[in-house]
């Protein structure tokens, strides 16, 4: 009986360390870095093309306001995408919640506070329905929420036409408690000169801070990364994966409600198809912010910069005197650029310094063959 010798086990584990990242690399792969850099470039571009209007406080207030409105829903979409899901019904939620609040306050004569609470409850319910359907069926959320999107749109049109004969609800400014709603969702927060900054900016900043805090500092944030990055693994170590995902859908719905209320109280009317088509802008903002379509990686702060890019582009193109149709071309191009950059980072982060899977398999195969041969021929070709 031979004594055991552990064969040739490396004594210096530090040699095994790979992909030691430089500080520069670590900055570059931060998900929000690309969006920040992009925002600076876009700002400079329009500062050059649009000139003085762009640099004025009034110009600034317009693009900030547009950006903030995208952000009301887009920040929650970023969290949802980090959690590995989509929500295509997030756009129509603006019109849906606005319609419900409007119908409750105008056609049912409720106090605005009650209308707000009830429409919020309905939004939460829609979020739960989306989440539960996705989690239970294990279908891609893309298809499930595409279904809810169309179903809601049809339902909204049917309901408002039955009740009001039109596809919008007007007259909320005459409802009792309107002033409170307007203050919460549609007032001017502050002036700089003649430039007005609306309260949606406050909502936007508050959501960005809260969302980022949850994602980076709390358990729930860790779970969001994990259910997006490796759902089965998360479940195996005891993360409530389904509850996390349903919670994300609810968060999107609640943020969609805030968005809906802002539009309702700013315009005093609710068009039921308000927000339809915007779901793609929310996804673009999240991708610009470094969120991967496959989940598990991204940033809320990055998505906020993504919203800023969207807002600047939308306001900057007409101010620069370009053809407004170029908006789509421009957005498409930066979306592609961001998606390519994200993919490169993802590849780096999941494979850096490691041999490719094929090389690993080849090595394992070689080793196995070698050992079989050694075993079969008795200590290395002794039968020669």
């Amino acid at each position: 009986m031979t004594t055991t010798v552990v064969p040739a086990i490396p004594k210096a584990p530090t040699d095994e360390r790979v992909a030691r990242s430089s500080p520069l690399m670590r900055l570059l792969i931060r998900p929000e870095f690309g969006a920040l850099a992009g925002a600076v470039v876009v700002w400079l571009l329009f500062a050059w093309q649009a000139g003085g209007v762009w640099l004025s406080w009034q110009g600034t207030a317009t693009y900030v306001d547009v950006s903030a409105k995208y952000g009301l829903t887009a920040l929650a979409i970023a969290l949802l995408m980090i959690g590995g899901e989509f929500d295509l019904s997030s756009g129509v939620m603006t019109g849906t919640t606005g319609m419900f609040a409007g119908l409750f306050a105008v056609n049912s004569g409720m106090h605005v506070v009650l209308a707000l609470v009830l429409s919020l409850v309905l939004a939460v319910a829609i979020g739960v329905i989306n989440g539960v359907m996705v989690v239970k069926s294990r279908l891609p959320s893309f298809i499930v929420t595409l279904g809810t999107f169309f179903a809601l749109q049809g339902f909204n049109l049917w309901l408002t036409q039955r009740v009001t004969g039109l596809t919008n609800v007007t007259g909320i400014d005459a409802a009792s408690g309107y002033e409170l709603g307007r203050r919460l969702f549609a007032s001017t927060m502050f002036h700089i000169g003649r430039a007005e900054f609306s309260i949606s900016l406050l909502w936007f900043v508050a959501m960005a801070v809260l969302g980022s805090w949850v994602l980076m500092r709390t358990k729930v944030g860790n779970w969001i990364f994990a259910v997006g990055g490796n759902r089965d693994a998360a479940r195996m170590v005891g993360v409530p994966a389904s509850a996390t995902k349903v919670g994300l859908f609810v968060a999107v719905a609640v943020c969609g409600w805030v968005h809906g209320m802002v539009v309702l109280f700013e315009t005093s009317r609710s068009n039921v198809i308000e927000g339809v088509g915007q779901e793609f802008y929310f996804i673009i903002a999240a991708v610009l912010g470094g969120c991967l379509l496959t989940g598990g990686f991204g940033s809320v702060v990055g998505a906020a910069f993504g919203c800023l890019i969207l807002g600047m582009t939308r306001q900057g193109i007409p101010l620069a005197g370009w053809d407004p149709n170029l908006n789509f071309l421009f957005l498409g191009a930066i979306l592609l650029a961001a998606a390519f950059a994200n993919e490169a980072i993802r590849r780096w982060a999941s494979t850096a310094g490691r041999p490719s899977q094929r090389k690993i398999e080849e090595a394992a195969h070689d080793a196995a063959v070698e050992q079989d041969v050694i075993a079969a021929t008795g200590d290395g070709g002794g039968d020669e």
Binding site: T3, T4, P13, E16, S21, F225, L292, G296, E361
Partner: protein, 270 residues
């Protein structure tokens, strides 16, 4: 590390093994997945379970990990008859399983993966990130790995290192028995050596390790006990002193098949 057969090394004061299986069987309908399997693992020892594909290794793991329940025989934890009804039961009893895919999110940092599902919190309810990073570094150091940046994504670690994160995590969260499912299967020779080293490190910290593999050359150097499975049945349950490396290799691969292979290779060379 080599202990003579039957010596009370690693046995508790009652002389019970940490985990013991007696004539364990598992059926799926009329398929016999495992039949009359007997083996044990002591604290501070490594029991290797060897078998080719289809030998019943995964059923074996799943019974120990609480995914399946056994149908016949006895399953003893520290001398007490046990039956796990869920992976949670197994975890609570101190049996941790490190699967091949390691249950990690590659894009998440080392410390986030380490504490996933059991995050330490401050009185504010936020994650105690400082503590999480410190513990991750300390626990990895105990496995012999120096982590410089706990923010590094797990996906950028080598295969062997990711194994060690999974092992260190299981140990930190109170595992007494560590089941390693083919940890060297996807690795090259050098990385396999690294993993074997972690197995030895876990053993030396007093854990009972169950090392599942199809490679006798990986099993023999680190193992104290060897269970060989073939088509759901046990070909034997040996202490190290009862079997040599060559015998193990022969049994594992089926002697006759290997001899045929050896002739085939010899004729190729001629």
């Amino acid at each position: 590390m080599s202990d003579p057969l039957g010596e009370p090394v690693g046995r508790d004061f009652d002389g019970h093994a940490l985990l013991e299986l007696q004539r364990l069987s598992k059926f799926f309908g009329n398929v016999i997945a495992l039949q009359n399997i007997t083996t044990s693992v002591q604290a501070g020892e490594v029991t290797c379970v060897l078998g080719d594909n289809g030998a019943g290794k995964s059923t074996f793991i799943k019974i120990l990990a609480g995914v399946h329940s056994h149908d016949e025989g006895r399953f003893l934890m520290e001398g007490k008859e046990t039956r796990f009804h869920s992976p949670r039961d197994a975890k609570a009893a101190g049996v941790a399983t490190v699967y091949q895919d390691l249950a990690m999110a590659p894009l998440m940092s080392i410390w986030r993966n380490f504490f996933l599902g059991s995050e330490p919190t401050t009185w504010l309810g936020t994650i105690d990130i400082k503590k999480a990073k410190r513990v991750a570094i300390e626990e990895m150091a105990k496995m012999g790995i120096e982590v410089r940046d706990p923010e590094q994504p797990v996906g950028t670690l080598s295969g062997g290192e990711r194994q060690s994160v999974a092992i260190a995590r299981a140990v930190y969260f109170g595992a007494k028995v560590l089941i390693l499912d083919e940890p060297t299967a996807a690795l090259g020779v050098r990385q396999s050596g690294v993993v074997l080293r972690y197995i030895v490190a876990a053993r030396d910290r007093g854990l009972g390790v169950i090392f599942i593999t199809h490679n006798p050359h990986h099993a023999y150097p680190v193992g104290d006990r060897f269970l060989i499975l073939k088509r759901g049945a046990s070909l034997g349950n040996f202490a190290k002193s009862e079997i040599t490396r060559d015998e193990l290799t022969q049994m594992m691969s089926g002697g006759a098949e290997l001899e045929a292979l050896s002739h085939e290779i010899a004729s190729l060379r001629a």
